[in-house]
């Protein structure tokens, strides 16, 4: 492509190349900016390219200000503000696109370059993955190439030449980057980051609307990585607990406390948690969720160790942190898979766990009444009723599906009687409604279930598609007990690798059919690389910086020490550079150095020798001054001449050096 470009006139070529680089930088943004901004940016870039290609004049500045004013108004209309992250990104994209229409003076070009660097950074708001890093490295090389090319004023040098210079500069700049990255002290945010900092990330939400977990099931991205200290617990025990939802309005499940997002953390009042068995110890690397909770294996009795956060447990066994997790977060936790919680007495239980939305799901309530009226079941109490409900799920022709269609008003009725198919959220929701209708306290728990082991680096990987919803019922004398109705419908979902697969496209199907093993191992390798990237680069925090200092011998390192080490390295490199310049100024030719030594000595004795005098001339002067006494020196000087200029030197320079030391110096 570079050669095709190179055949154009220089101005056209340079402009088109710069536009291509800017387009590449903006490309990842198009998914995140409002549609009008994307359309405007693409249109402006193409128009600018056409102007350059057909050598037409640029539009007048007045027009640009007009478009900019419209863009600001549109941003205000979209976000209700021009401040904050998303509005800022939108404006920067518009500015960068419009500035390409104003490439008149040298200064304008620089503005485009610097806006370009900033736009590159804004891409990282949305993704810091390895792929984004690679794309932006290409973009950086492209921008540097354009910048270098702009400073080659002569003729039309090929772009590849500028690209090579840019490549070398980046390569040589990489050590500087590495040192600064490792040692630059990490602080918390200098001022409060806008609350929209991390929107646009998918994941579990605080509420569960019927139908929105199924969208997560299509999302193959990673939610968290877990490294177990000991052996991995069995798949069927891997319930990672997320938000617990207890109030239901017929369509949406909400947590019990209305002030869920408040900074006030509800401390566990009446948890009454009893654990048994050996704890499972593990380390979680959680992808940013922008939610103020931690995912832990059901259930963590002691607070997870989260650097930089305060943690607290709610009465529903959920671990909260004091601010949303906006970055990759690593923490250690200890969980017990066998536990009991909650009050033993129903009087101590909040009545919300029995509430149902009024005038909804009449057939389900009818079913509940029938079951309770059954004398056999009534004798068995709550456990028998639960078993009966699970039995109905097992044998009643219910199906586990990703795509059950859109549910109407009475979601539980539709599940139990009409459609008889649903995703885990439908099943759990319908099950809890039935339980409550039978006066058994119940609630929905959302989180992740299962996961898979990456065979390359041994990390346990939990994806968004592992999102799950299950139920907890309260039994007198036992407290809250986990019941997973999905396991009754589809035993394969729990306890094995089987997950529902969305329909795949033709190519992926063919690929998967031909080499299922290859696809799996490629994916494992890629995710291991990604994990290494996450662990080493994205999760490089202040604590790891300080650990590094500890390793090199600081007893109690602080961030000031980091600064000192950094300054020390800079001073050392600067001194080394200065030493090099001193060395560089010296005469490097050993022959000339030797001759200069003799010359200086003779000058000190008052022999008048010009700086450019050759050995023969010096020899003449020595003979004229000292006569016979100077003969050995004169002879040596002639040998010096011979050493330098004869076609085959008789004596080596080293030998001449030794001889000089033994010469009787004339006085």
């Amino acid at each position: 492509m570079l050669t095709r470009l190179d055949s154009l006139p220089r101005d056209t070529r340079d402009t088109l190349f710069l536009l291509a680089v800017i387009g590449w930088i903006m490309l990842p943004q198009l998914a995140h900016v409002p549609w009008w901004c994307g359309v405007l940016a693409v249109a402006v870039l193409f128009w600018r390219g056409w102007l350059a290609f057909s050598s037409r004049p640029l539009p007048r500045t007045m027009w640009l200000f007009g478009v900019l004013a419209i863009a600001v108004v549109a941003t205000l209309a979209t976000y209700r503000t021009v401040l904050g992250r998303d509005a800022g990104v939108t404006l920067i994209v518009v500015l960068l696109a419009l500035k390409t229409l104003e490439l008149r003076a040298r200064r304008d070009t620089f503005v485009v370059f610097f806006l370009g660097f900033f736009t590159m950074l804004t891409n990282f708001f949305f993704s810091q993955s390895l792929a984004t890093a690679g794309a932006m490295l290409v973009a950086l090389l492209g921008l540097l190439t354009a910048l270098v090319n702009a400073h080659m004023p002569v003729g039309k040098p090929p772009l590849i030449q500028a690209a090579r210079t840019a490549g070398w500069m980046t390569l040589l700049g990489a050590p500087v980057m590495a040192v600064l990255f490792v040692l630059f002290p990490r602080f918390g945010p200098l001022w409060g980051t806008p609350s929209d900092a991390m929107t646009g990330r998918s994941g579990l939400s605080a509420n569960m609307q019927i139908g929105n977990l199924a969208t997560l099931a299509l999302d193959d991205s990673i939610a968290m990585r877990v490294k177990f200290d000991g052996p991995t617990p069995s798949q069927s025990e891997l319930y990672f607990r997320g938000p617990v939802l207890s109030t239901f309005d017929g369509r949406e499940w909400r947590p019990l406390q209305p002030r869920f997002f408040g900074t006030r953390v509800q401390l566990a009042g009446n948890v009454q948690l009893q654990v048994s068995g050996e704890p499972v110890r593990y380390e979680v690397t959680m992808e940013p969720s922008n939610r103020p909770w931690l995912m832990v294996l059901d259930v963590a009795a002691s607070p997870p160790q989260v650097p930089g956060f305060e943690t607290a447990m709610t009465s529903e066994l959920m671990w909260l942190v004091n601010r949303p997790v906006t970055d990759l977060l690593r923490y250690r936790a200890e969980s017990y898979t066998h536990f009991r919680s909650g009050p033993r007495n129903i009087a101590a239980l909040p009545p919300e766990y029995l509430q149902l939305p009024p005038d909804r799901d009449p057939r389900t309530i009818e079913l509940a009444n029938q079951m309770r009226a059954d004398p056999q079941l009534a004798r068995g109490g709550a456990p028998a009723l639960i078993q009966a409900a699970l039995q109905r799920l097992r044998t009643g022709g219910y199906h586990y599906t990703l795509d059950p269609g859109v549910y109407g008003e009475n979601t539980a009725d539709e599940f139990w009687f009409d459609r008889k198919e649903g995703f885990c959220e439908h099943i759990a929701s319908a099950f809890v409604v039935l339980m409550r209708a039978m006066e058994i306290p119940a609630r929905v728990v959302t989180g992740y279930q299962g996961g898979e082991r990456n065979s390359v680096d041994g990390y346990w990987i939990v994806r968004q598609s592992d999102a799950h919803a299950w139920a907890e019922v309260w039994l007198a004398g036992q407290g809250w007990v986990r019941v997973d109705p999905t396991a009754a419908v589809a035993p394969g979902r729990i306890g094995s690798l089987q997950r529902l697969q969305p329909p795949r496209n033709v190519f992926a199907t063919a690929f998967g059919n031909v080499t299922p093993g290859l696809a799996q191992s490629l994916r494992s390798a890629w995710e291991a690389v990604n994990n290494a990237w996450n662990q080493r680069i994205l999760n490089y925090t202040q604590s790891r910086q300080l650990n590094l200092l500890k390793d090199i011998g600081f007893s109690a390192p602080s961030w000031e020490d980091l600064t000192f080490v950094l300054i020390g390295i800079i001073v050392f490199v600067a001194l080394a550079g200065a030493a090099w310049t001193v060395w560089d100024r010296r005469e490097h030719d050993p022959w000339l150095r030797l001759l200069n030594r003799v010359r200086r000595k003779l000058l000190a004795q008052g022999v008048d020798i010009t700086p450019a005098a050759p050995p023969r001339r010096i020899a003449t002067l020595v003979t004229a001054r000292f006569g016979e006494l100077g003969a050995p020196l004169a002879h040596w000087l002639l040998k010096m001449e011979q050493q330098r200029y004869a076609s085959a030197a008789e004596e080596s320079l080293r030998a001449l050096q030794t001889q000089l030391r033994h010469i009787h110096w004339p006085a």
């Binding site: 620089f110 610097f114 900033f118 950074l121 708001f125 080659m152 070398w168 980046t170 050590p175 100024r585």
Partner: protein
Amino acid sequence: MLTIALNPIAYTRQRFRAWWQARLPLSDTTTLTQRNVYILPTRPGFMMLATLLVLVVASINYQLNLGYLLTFLLAGCSVVAMHVCHATLRGLTMNLMTPDPQFAGASAQLRVVLTNNRNAIRNGIGLAVLDSTVDDKWVWTDVPALGSSTVNVAFQPQRRGLHHVPPLTAETRFPLGTFRVWTVWRPAAQVLVYPQPEAFPPPLPPGEPRAGGIARARLQSTGEFDGVRQYRRGDPLKVVVWKKAAKTGELVSRDAEQAQRYELWLDFAQAGKHDTELRLSRLAAWVLQADRLGMEYGLRLPGVQIAPASGESHKRRCLEALATC
């Protein structure tokens, strides 16, 4: 004193510059080293610094480790660019070719050979006369690896006489434009500057009768030719009889009778009633005109007299006398 009062900074700067330049050695060849190459950040350089600061603040505030990587890579590139920029000039050898004499006020050129003895190209080196009044004074060149390139630097000599070549400056902003690396060089060579020829001089003065010859007032028939003679070196092309030359292959010149009897003297005393410089510039114009016409002419200046002759070397002698008198 007035300058100091009006603009003390500019005055101090000018004095500092004069003092600095006077310290520089005079030499026709110079090899740039660490000691005579200067470097300062440019305005885009400060913009780059501001960009880096904004990037690092954004990385801190949004806790973007990838943002840190980008910022520091860019910072690393800027540091490398600084060294690349300095190395573009450091080690370069500049050699001034002996300059030809020039006319005052005309735009003239200095030929400078740049020699690169490192194994990599040196890009984007600009040369110019220091403190030049020419608008676009820079001449840009690349010097190939282990090679040399020649540039012609424009300058406008203002006063006639024998002067030092004005101080030259070389500059580069390659590769990122964030730093300006420059050097100042005072060549030792001198350039002879002829007086500026008058733009519209009056016609040549009438000839004076040749001493000892017969005076005949046949001024009207100037240029009428009376015979031919062998071509002599220095004869203008218009007196060559081309038809004859084409036939015989031998160059023959016309010989005017008038030239044999009258002598053209360009006299300082007859060059108008202006001041010396204007008279000299009229004389210079006459010299050029007479030379163009292929006439023999002599020059009389206060204290100097050059006997009538013609040809290139005679013209040079006359112009030199005009330049230095």
